[in-house]
């Protein structure tokens, strides 16, 4: 972030609100922050290449699209196996996110987290059972945490420019453990 110029910072802030639905969206975005269409396109291409932008596209609302159940499945994997197990889990189509996180002993023994979305809880549990069989995870202790209620869902934001405009800002960060 420190490496970004002022117009680039402004561009990030504007982009967090989403692209306009017009024929030349990058041109329109550019005029708001004092950059040409070409400069915006070059910025975006560079940011995508270096991973600052994970992906550029449609952000869906899971619940509204029928994915009513989301499970955070947490695993207590021996440290020497966690990387291999994480990789295997990450390859499964039903897994949307997979992260290693620290244990918080004695309260919390789990060090690997993954998310599974589905139409209902029963289907999510079926996905989980077949995933356990496919990945050979029968011996690894796990728990399934379903979400009961969504208390707050707003876009996470890092750029000060958006502070005064919370309603305009939607999900623009890749959120760990999101539902």
């Amino acid at each position: 972030m420190d490496d970004l110029s002022d117009p680039e910072r402004a561009l990030v802030a504007v982009l967090q609100r989403g692209l306009p639905l017009v024929s030349h969206p990058y041109k329109e975005i550019g005029t708001r922050v004092g950059l040409t269409e070409r400069q915006v396109i070059d910025c975006l291409s560079r940011w995508q290449a270096d991973g600052m932008i994970r992906r550029l596209g449609v952000v869906v609302r899971h619940h509204e699209l029928g994915y009513q159940a989301n499970a955070m499945v947490v695993w207590d994997v021996p440290d020497e196996q966690v990387r291999e197990v994480g990789r295997r889990l990450g390859e499964q189509q039903v897994v949307t996110l997979c992260y290693r996180r620290p244990r918080r002993l004695p309260d919390w023994p789990y060090n690997l987290f993954c998310m599974i979305h589905g139409q209902d809880r029963e289907l999510v549990l079926q996905h989980l059972q077949s995933l356990i069989a496919r990945c050979g995870l029968e011996d690894i202790i796990h728990e399934v945490l379903f979400s009961c209620r969504r208390f707050k869902q707003q876009g996470a934001r890092c750029i000060e420019a958006d502070r005064n405009d919370p309603l305009q800002v939607a999900k623009s960060l890749a959120i760990p453990g999101q539902a």
Partner: protein, 157 residues
């Protein structure tokens, strides 16, 4: 539940195709919607009008980049709390009042409150967590990402 979950929704095959294709990515070029529309076999105008409809109906929240928070210089973490049932409402109100709290989900576990914090700098994470613990009177467990194995963030519709 039907075989195809979107059968029960007001989405036709083209809508589904648009969502599935554009979750993967919108081209970065002068007329990205025209390029995407060509790939989908529809017109640019048709794509724009469908996207606007999908947004108005609440199926998509936005179109645009998903930033990598850490590379952007910000702080990001997942935190968990154990909150007694009779205090849950009050504590969730306190926690959600922080602008840094992006998502807050109740889950069926003794750790029943799970929220994501996003801050402008990594250093602020600790301050916010301490502040939440002090204000609510319950410990906050910080569970930052140590390694990432997959971020697909894509659902087949």
């Amino acid at each position: 539940m039907t075989e195809n979950l979107s059968d029960s929704l007001a989405l036709d095959a083209t809508d589904r195709c648009i969502i599935n294709t554009l979750q993967t990515g919108l081209p970065i070029c002068e007329r990205p919607y025209a390029a995407a529309a060509e790939q989908l076999g529809i017109t640019e105008e048709g794509l724009l009008s469908r996207l606007s409809g999908l947004r108005d109906q609440g199926f998509i929240s936005r179109l645009g980049p998903m930033f990598h928070a850490e590379k952007l210089g910000g702080g990001l973490t997942l935190a968990a709390m154990q909150v007694p049932d009779d205090a849950y409402e009050k504590v969730s109100t306190q926690v959600n009042a922080y602008t840094e709290v992006a998502h807050n989900y109740r889950r069926n576990h003794i750790f029943n409150m799970w929220f994501v914090l996003a801050t402008e700098t990594p250093e602020e994470i600790e301050n916010v967590l301490v502040s939440i613990a002090e204000e609510t009177g319950y410990p906050v467990f910080n569970m930052p990402k140590q390694e990432e194995f997959f971020v697909g963030l894509k659902l087949e519709i």
